[in-house]
Symmetry: C2
Subunit: 208 residues, 2 copies
DNA sequence: TGTACATCAGTGAACGCGCGTTCACTGATGTAC
DNA sequence: TGTACATCAGTGAACGCGCGTTCACTGATGTAC
């Protein structure tokens, strides 16, 4: 009946309910969207009583936070992978932005939860000392593009601007308004690349 | 007791309950945030029974939609005003972006409702034939900056990129992460201008 | 000018619902001796 | 190796809550004659 319940007469103890709850949360998100993501729905999806999650999360918001953290981790992974697939700096930068937006498009409900969570806390959920942050990934790539000839301040501001644009595009790109333009450009990805390419940024700064 | 109820033994008929409900909705948003924006809370705030709004809105989502539409109208107004205060194209463009973000910062709950609504419909709420859209405002201003030397396609993509960046900045700018940078730059507005200035765009395109 | 009547815009009680959380409980597991 | 016992990780019933919406109603307003 439930997705997470495996065959063979499930045991009283679950094994790894925390993990199962996070997976169940994602299943609920995919199937019914962010507004359906209640503690009870997650427990139901995991095939467990409504009180069970309290042995693994202090309360609902802590569960949501864990979901959001996983989402950000996966987003970063998607970005790293995209980066690794290209060698030329310009292509790497473009791929980074496209990967970001495509992740958001592929996981719209998760992406929403991620930023709802971030907004509530005025910060991204802790990556508690991960090796290198997604934001650092952006800065490094932009440095490559500029060939190292850029001040720390410009770099920081440009990275923020890029992040803003990617986030904005993630939220806005599916508006029907843009359909004609996408068709004219030859598809979704061309559209994304087109918009992101129009964030010229450093080139202007350098000769301005 | 309620904000909207005027003195003198309120009459049975309200006069303009629709208007009062929209104002009440905003009051609720400001005081308690988007998650508290229920039909019942709005009715309560307007000093009216829970069933009363149904004479003015088909259901909850139609009320929210009306709130969102008003929000977008006010955002456009703020942008027009900011534009009118500057003459030089570059300053006008900057003022436009700053006005956008500052509106979102000044009305965070309303801004959230506006985009929640837009996302649900995959489009902005109808401006049903307003004179000129906010997006057109952006395109016109960008054309001024470019001195008319720009293709329709570049213009469109640049305008979208600007919109994305403004939206992203609106959602991200209050992260604590940026506090040091803001201080270094001398304040919130300088930060916004700094980020937005790093969307060079057309300059790069022209000599690239 | 008065009156009958339709329509409008409220009331307030009630409906069923799903929610987050708590509680006393119990089955399963692990550990000390 | 066996056993007593503490601890862990579940159950399931119950709590109070606010919600969106419906309903029969009634007071106020406007209009036709």
């Amino acid at each position: 009946m439930t997705t997470a319940a495996v065959a063979e007469s499930k045991p009283y103890h679950h094994g790894d309910l925390r993990r199962a709850l996070l997976d169940a949360a994602e299943a609920v998100l995919v199937r019914e969207g962010p507004s359906a993501l209640s503690l009870r729905a997650v427990a139901r999806e995991a095939g467990v009583s409504p009180a069970a999650p309290y042995h693994h999360f202090k309360d609902k918001s802590e569960l949501l936070r864990a979901v959001a953290m996983e989402g950000f981790a996966r987003l970063k992974l998607a970005m790293s992978s995209a980066l690794a697939r290209e060698t030329a700096p310009e292509e790497r930068r473009s791929a980074l932005g496209v990967a970001y937006v495509e992740f958001a498009q592929a996981n719209p409900a998760l992406y929403r939860v991620m930023y709802d969570c971030a907004r509530n806390a005025d910060q991204m959920p802790d990556e508690h000392g991960e090796d290198v942050s997604a934001f650092q990934l952006v800065k490094d790539t932009l440095t490559e593009v500029a060939g190292g000839q850029v001040s720390e301040l410009d770099l920081e501001l440009t990275a923020i601007a890029s992040w803003c644009a990617a986030h904005g595009l993630a939220e806005i790109s599916k508006f029907e308004k843009f359909k004609p333009l996408k068709d004219a450009l030859g598809g979704e990805r061309a559209f994304l690349q087109g918009v992101l390419a129009h964030l010229g940024v450093m080139a202007q700064r350098k000769d301005g």
